[in-house]
Amino acid sequence: MEWLNSVVQGTLLGGLYALFAAGLSLIFGVMRLVNIAHGDLIVLAAYLGLTVTSATGLHPLLAMVLVVPAMAAIGYALQRGVLNQTLGDDLLPPLLVTFGLSVIIQNALLEVYSADPQKMNAGALETASVSVGGLALGVLPLLTFAIAVAVIAGLQFTFYRTALGRAFRAVSDNQDIAQLMGLNRRHIFGLAMALALAVTAVAGILLGIRTSFDPSIGGGRLIFGFEAVIIGGLGNLWGTLVGGVILGVAQTVGAKIDPGWQLLSGHIAFLLILVVRPNGLFPRVSG
């Protein structure tokens, strides 16, 4: 029963990792950009949530109403102002520019909020639980998982059923021809980054309610998201959810064996999948 509990808790944790990964997967899918600052942007969203809740007294989940559009605006500005200049055949500029961005965000957060761990107070939601078949499931992890499923379903819908999604897929397939067909790829990329950071904002708020955070944890979040993307297979959003779940279960089961093994067993699960299936479990596009 205890093992089953670990697996269930890990599955729910996987929802959070899938949210970390969804933004990463989206921007890679649309413009082949890997954003090293992704983890720091998640932490930035958590801090924005903290500022909003402490300034207005809003519940953290309601703070999303302000933080999500704010992060989307940051994403659009970032893409149009900086990242569009780095796109091209050369791999180095986007990688190094986002790496520099990561250092800047991390130290700016350190300067503004200090290195002390912070946490958002979500009141009764943090401790509420429901009993399902003898297992006590936290309402917050359940809610996180449900949000993750909803976000991925929403992204999937946007990608394959809307005009915006068609534009995303067009620039992804061939930027030049999409441009000739009257799409402004710079604007489309800006919108893709805005959407990715909107998802990141949701992930950051849920992270900030679940655990305490400080400016240095961005790198770790980036790695979790990245592992979920690779496990699930590039370009497959539902695969990313599966990847997040596998990572979450590996971590909670590892922690059950020995608390020091939590993170390590997640990484080992990732490396094992890399050995067995280098392209992930359900790849859609080649890297």
Binding site: I104, N107, G287
Partner: protein, 341 residues
């Protein structure tokens, strides 16, 4: 105009002058323990170790296209091997440093086999995952202090040399020697057959492959050589620090972020770039370090601006302006001075 009036040459007047100036500077630097103060000696030692790390990262990223953000794996591994081999293996520190390089090469083989399955930017994050695996694994080793780390026993420190100033001089010379060794190794490697293949891959991977260059093997070789040397530098770094902990040993900021900034600012894909970049980085650090986090933000901003506005770095600007190459790697056509002309 006849062709015999022209010939192809590698060296140039500038390269010959640079070689002479370099030799003089090297002699002055070797003599530093007699003219520099203790603090300066330490600073220069650190500078040489960063120069070595930067040259190795540049070899990987600038020539082989292997952009790693996980070389801290080998810095930390080398440091931990120094501690383990001297404390439990009873080796002399200098022997342990060389052994750390050998072990670094050994461990990098399975790592490369695994992460070479990832391409491009995903390779970069994959190297970071490996570094995290190294960090978390060493944090589990309780004989090496677990998560809180350990100090090098006094007995081992004293076995290096008797007397504090002798130890400091030795440690300085080892750092200088490591930097010279690494820069020379990178230069000679690039002039070799493998280096030619590497330069071809850098310029156009597809064309290089169609000329029969084994791209995977060449990159694999570069990764292993760079990792082995990085492990040796890591051992030297922690011989200077005398204390090791997983967070310090596998710090992405200290051993990768700064190194990347050095190479980007100096000029990626050139032998001279990391040298210029190291000097610029230390100048910035010594003048701005009091600003703390602001200084790091400035550094990140400088790197972004350089990458966007002058992607070839400071050395790239100089070379575009004056057509200089201090380490003769390229070939050029020059007119032969001929009295019958």
């Amino acid at each position: 105009m006849t062709y015999k009036n022209y010939h192809v040459t590698r060296t140039s007047q500038a390269a010959r002058i640079a070689a002479i100036v370099g030799a003089v500077v090297l002699i002055i630097l070797i003599a530093a323990p007699w003219w520099a103060g203790r603090a300066d000696l330490r600073l220069m030692g650190e500078l040489f170790l960063y120069l070595a790390l930067a040259s190795l990262w540049n070899l990987m990223a600038g020539y082989a296209g292997l952009v790693s953000v996980g070389q801290q794996a080998y810095v930390g591994f080398g440091g931990y091997m120094l501690f383990a081999l001297t404390m439990f293996g009873g080796l002399h520190p200098t022997v342990a440093i060389i052994a750390a390089g050998g072990l670094g090469a050994l461990i990098s083989i399975p790592v490369a086999a695994l992460i070479f399955r990832l391409r491009g930017a995903y390779f970069a994050i994959g190297t970071w995952v490996m570094a995290e695996v190294f960090r978390l694994s060493f944090a589990q080793v309780s004989t090496l202090g677990g998560g809180s780390g350990t100090s090098l026993p006094v007995k081992i420190v004293k076995s290096l040399a008797s007397g504090r100033s002798a130890r400091e001089s030795l440690s300085y010379w080892m750092a200088l020697g490591a930097a010279v060794l690494v820069v020379a190794a990178v230069y000679l490697f690039l002039r070799s057959r493998n280096g030619l293949a590497l330069t071809a891959i850098r310029d156009n991977e597809l064309a290089a492959g169609s000329l029969g260059i084994d791209i995977w093997r060449t990159k694999f070789l570069v990764y292993i050589v760079a990792s082995a040397l990085t492990a040796m530098i890591g051992a030297l770094i922690f011989l200077q620090k005398l204390r090791i902990s997983p967070d310090a040993a596998f710090s992405v900021n200290d051993w990768t972020a700064f190194v990347i900034f050095i190479v980007v600012i100096g000029g990626i894909g050139t032998v001279e770039g990391p040298i210029i970049g190291t000097l610029v980085y230390f100048a910035l650090r010594e003048t701005l370090a009091d600003l703390g986090t602001i200084y790091l933000m400035v550094l990140g901003l400088v790197a972004i601006v350089v990458m966007l506005r002058a992607p070839k770095g400071v050395w790239g600007l100089i070379r575009a302006r004056f057509d200089l190459q201090l380490f003769p790697l390229g070939h050029r056509v020059v007119r032969t001075p001929d009295k019958g002309d």
